[in-house]
């Protein structure tokens, strides 16, 4: 679970890096579309964390009760 907690922060960090690379013109056009796809995946991952129920976490929470 500690890993999961990290991965949101990691995803955000990756996203930051991509955005700043785009801003600084560090990517050529071929890379751009690849990175953009990666960024979209990261955003989706982060949003899922925020808004979607994580069954695994639920299970862990409830499991310890019984």
């Amino acid at each position: 679970m500690a890993e999961k907690k990290e991965s949101y922060a990691q995803a955000m960090e990756k996203l930051e890096n991509i955005v700043s690379a785009v801003e600084k013109d560090e990517l050529d056009i071929d890379q751009l579309s690849v990175k953009l796809k990666e960024a979209q995946k990261l955003v989706r991952f982060c949003k899922d964390k925020l808004y979607k129920a994580d069954e695994e976490i639920k299970k862990i929470m409830e499991g310890e009760d019984n």
Binding site: M1, D54, M61, E64
Partner: protein, 411 residues
């Protein structure tokens, strides 16, 4: 003085009268409460004690009474102002009248109380605890923990039945953004004299599963009576300060911070405020994600625009570049041709010159020139004579001169 002895009652009556006469007023006294009891009639019986500050030995003691009609008002007034239950062990400032009863003896009847003195004493105790934690270097440890970006898995320490816990969960559940939260209750007593022990036990349970949680929330519904003394203890504060997860407190009170609040990572007033804090924290995370995603879109399209205009620019420049290039190539070609003409002409001149020299040399070597200079050629029967041995007397020879021939006979 009369010799006739007094009955005990008479003596006690005298004492009573003497006390009444010499101590007729009500007095404000400061003392510690001990052995506080109240019975079904609503009266409160207790003892006031005073200890020596250094040795802690008892140096004064008096029985006290608070009659029901006074106690009914005094107790809630005191507890609401101080956040401290009216129990043994605390220091109070009370207004008392001095009583003496023939049967029950000396006692003090409480008629008023000043909670500010107790507040001052509690504040002093809190300061002492905080100072001790500071000296031990643990005071700010929990505050120094970084609150994770997402605080979703929440260990809640509260009493299950408390309204505050229900409010907290409902507020999280119904947050307007649709964020996911996973609260999990670790039940603890939040009132009475077992608060300290009970919360520490709950903290230990959370600690055993600390990887399952992002933060701890300690909440308590704001009941009518608010006994907060359990949150002002050294042991609880030391546990919280050194706890590995950030602790958020919302223990429902208006007065100054408890020691627990002082060491917690984040302190809010009520359980609903704690829920609001968590929602706001998530909202901030969501906003920075949104912002980042927006920036990405903007900067990618800016980048694409830039590439487009670069391409357009190149396309525009291309014909001109080609034209320039063609002109330059033509010029180079012309230059080359010119150089070739020059080279060919020079070459031809050289050859002509050499030919002339050769011609000269050929001319110089011709027999006519020799003949003109006086040399002659001798032939015998058409063949050139180069040796006198070829001839014998009587031979006829022909001598060719530059101009004409002479025929002679050899002698």
């Amino acid at each position: 003085m009369e010799k006739a002895p007094l009955s005990l009652y008479e003596l006690n009556a005298l004492v009573k009268r003497a006390l009444n006469e010499s101590l007729p007023e009500a007095y404000w006294i400061q003392a510690e409460l001990s052995d506080v009891r109240s019975n079904t009639t609503g009266h409160c019986y207790l003892e006031f004690i005073q200890k020596d500050q250094r040795s802690n030995n008892l140096i004064a003691k008096a029985r006290g009474t608070i009659w029901a009609n006074v106690f009914r008002m005094l107790k809630p007034y005191f507890e609401e102002s101080t956040g401290q239950a009216f129990v043994s062990g605390i220091k109070v400032m009370v207004q008392v009248t001095v009583e003496f009863h023939e049967l029950y003896g000396y006692s003090l009847t409480v008629i008023d109380i000043d909670p500010t003195y107790t507040l001052g004493d509690m504040a002093r105790k809190r300061r002492e605890i905080l100072k001790q934690l500071e000296e031990e270097g643990v005071l700010t440890l929990n505050k120094e923990l970084e609150m994770p970006m997402l605080v979703q898995r929440i260990a809640v320490i509260s009493s299950a039945s408390a309204a505050g816990y229900g409010d907290f969960c409902r507020q999280l559940e119904e947050n307007p953004y649709g964020f996911m939260f996973y609260p999990h209750l670790f039940p603890a007593l939040m009132q009475g004299n077992q608060v300290e022990e009970s919360i520490i036990t709950a903290l230990n349970e959370v600690n055993n599963r600390r990887d399952d949680f992002d933060a701890v929330v300690i909440i308590r519904g704001g009941g009518a009576t608010s006994d907060l003394s359990g949150f002002d203890t050294y042991l609880l504060a030391a546990n919280c300060a050194q706890f590995p997860l950030p602790i958020i407190t919302g223990i429902g009170h208006e007065r100054d911070d408890t020691v627990l609040d002082s060491v917690a990572h984040t302190r809010v007033k009520t359980p609903t405020a704690a829920a609001q804090f968590l929602i706001t924290h998530m909202h901030e995370a969501a906003e920075s994600l949104e912002e980042l995603a927006q920036t990405l879109i903007v900067s990618v399209s800016a980048r694409m625009d830039k590439e487009h205009s670069r391409l357009a620019d190149l396309t525009n420049r291309l014909p001109m570049v080609i034209k320039n290039r063609t002109i330059r190539e033509g010029y180079l070609l012309e230059q080359l041709m010119q150089r070739m003409h020059v080279a060919i002409a020079r070459n031809l001149t050289n050859r002509k010159h050499r030919l002339m020299l050769l011609e000269q040399r050929v001319n110089d070597a011709s027999p006519e020139r020799l003949l003109k200079r006086g040399y002659s050629l001798t032939f015998k029967e058409g063949k050139a004579v180069t040796d006198s041995a070829q001839l014998k007397p009587g031979d006829m020879i022909t001598t060719r001169l530059a101009k004409g021939e002479v025929i002679s006979e050899v002698k």
